[in-house]
């Protein structure tokens, strides 16, 4: 490990001096994960809200399933998406394997259950509080969903950020379906994996520092927002 410190500082200067290739990788990571989280939100929020508001047989089982999906191993998700998108798989004709779209799909599968489960929790709590008042105002169950989603917005942004955190830090799934192809599907986490396997630990660690920086920033936002959401929630509880 001799010279590790100097190696690390040269790697950091590569980052700080805005090495174009490196920033392209960081940008692709952000792009893929932001896109994945947006799609997950479009699916997960209505599903979570519906589960919170609707009453139907099998609802509890669905909720347990959804919570279990939150902890689904990324590698398994990667494998499933690979089998789906492979040329010998059912969606092979779409030619999506080894593209950023494939990585987005894998991350959507990973993140949607998180957003749906957190949305259900928050909306169910709020629905309990609002239920009589909304019925008194003549708001139907279905019509109450957008009201509840909007009023839970702070907590929902927290859910989005939690999903983003999982997406951006994930390596197992995206390396399988993205292939870690230079300039095409190489993101921060797969670059870290590659540089580690080349024994370039300092560069890997420097990239890890960016990832940690993003994670810290996201978590700071989460804790600020959830504090505010909590204050609003506790006020009249």
């Amino acid at each position: 490990m001799q010279g590790f410190a100097s190696e690390f500082s040269s790697a950091m200067s590569l980052i700080l001096n805005g090495d174009a290739e490196l920033w392209a990788i960081v940008l692709l990571s952000l792009k893929v994960s932001i896109f994945a989280v947006l799609i997950s939100a479009l699916i997960g929020m209505p599903v979570g809200a519906a589960l919170a508001v609707a009453r139907f047989p099998g609802r509890r089982i669905l909720i347990v399933l959804m919570n279990a999906l939150m902890g689904f191993p990324p590698v398994v998700v990667g494998l499933l998406v690979y089998l789906l998108l492979s040329r010998s798989g059912p969606l092979g004709v779409l030619e999506l394997l080894y593209t950023p779209t494939a990585m987005i799909i894998a991350q959507v599968v990973l993140v949607t259950p998180i957003i749906a489960a957190l949305t259900r929790q928050v909306v169910e709590m709020l629905a309990e509080e609002y239920s009589e008042q909304l019925r008194s105002l003549g708001v139907s169950r279905l019509a109450s969903v957008p009201v509840l989603l909007w009023d839970a917005r702070l907590a929902l942004v927290t859910a989005l950020l939690a999903g983003f955190g999982r997406a951006i830090a994930e390596v197992g799934a995206v390396i399988i379906v993205g292939g870690n192809i230079n300039h095409v599907t190489r993101v921060m986490t797969t670059t870290i994996a590659l540089e580690t396997s080349k024994g370039n630990l300092a560069l890997a660690l420097a990239l890890g520092a960016i990832l940690i920086g993003i994670a810290v920033a996201v978590n700071a936002m989460v804790s600020t927002l959830s504090l505010r959401a909590e204050q609003e929630g506790l006020r009249h509880a």
Partner: protein, 271 residues
């Protein structure tokens, strides 16, 4: 919030559109970590891309996985190093034809202290017998890669079955060459590696080359076009063009001219 969503969506779409030079023709090459980690492909591919306008997208995994991915049709060209498996691939109809491309060699590296006393030997089989006799730590890929297959052949010749000792002195990492070198470096173990990956590996620690030069350490790379009869989506024309270039004079010269620390890593030998 809806407005924020829409704006973010536009932002994301804009980003994708901006970076998607999607209409550029490309091929996907299923290859091994050694060709990528050594830096060879990064060195030679720009020449081909400039000449033909075809973008070469390399998925670098172990030979075993590369072949399985190619069988699934998830690649247009296969560039790996395990001759028996490659011939099987073509015989089963998954590939069109196999061509020799280049070779490099394997080396046995180990800790400077060399507990099995193999330093300087020219006979790899003898060295492995010594390692297993001393029950000195040995890190194996254990991932069905070309290097792993080569290692298992050598153990076979040494009449030893190290997998019986798996978990004691014999450690199977189940990961790529670089990751396995990291493990060996961390625990001071012997390890069989291709010279290219070793040459470009940045975390050698206490390890050094102990045995090299045995003809049985010869490591041949082959290239195969994935059979478009099996997978109609295979970009056969562009893939064939890449193969022709790599085994032709330009590609062969490019391979020969790649040097790391002044040392040539791959030796072109296409017919």
């Amino acid at each position: 919030m809806i407005r924020i969503f829409i704006r973010a969506a536009f932002f994301a779409v804009g980003l994708t559109a901006a970076s998607a030079n999607a209409e550029e023709p490309f091929i996907v090459v299923q290859s091994t970590t050694s060709t990528q980690n050594s830096g060879l492909l990064d060195y030679i591919l720009p020449g081909f891309e400039a000449e033909t306008g075809i973008d070469v997208r390399v998925v670098a995994v172990g030979t075993g996985q590369a072949i399985r991915n190619a069988i699934n049709g998830d690649g247009d060209v296969l560039l790996v190093h395990s001759r028996p498996a490659e011939e099987q691939f073509v015989d089963d109809g998954w590939g069109v034809e196999r061509f020799d491309v280049m070779y490099n060699d394997f080396v046995l590296v180990g800790p400077k202290s060399d507990p099995a006393k193999v330093r300087g030997g020219m006979d790899i089989v003898e060295a492995l017998v010594a390692v297993s006799g001393a029950e000195a730590p040995f890190a194996s890929r254990g991932d069905d890669s070309g290097t792993h297959k080569a290692e298992m052949r050598l153990w076979d010749w040494a009449d030893a079955d190290p997998t019986a000792a798996s978990g004691t002195w014999y450690r199977e990492t189940g990961s790529g060459m670089g990751a396995t070198l990291n493990v060996a470096s961390g625990m001071g173990a012997y390890v069989l590696t291709d010279r290219a990956t070793w040459q470009s590996f940045g975390n050698r620690g206490d390890l050094e080359v102990l045995v090299e030069g045995d003809p049985r350490l010869f490591n041949q790379y082959g290239i195969i076009l994935v059979n478009p009869d099996k997978h109609p989506q295979v970009r056969a024309a562009a893939g064939q063009r890449f193969i022709d270039w790599l085994i032709g004079p330009d590609g062969q010269a490019a391979i020969a001219s790649y040097k790391l620390d002044g040392e040539q890593l791959f030796f072109p030998n296409a017919e």
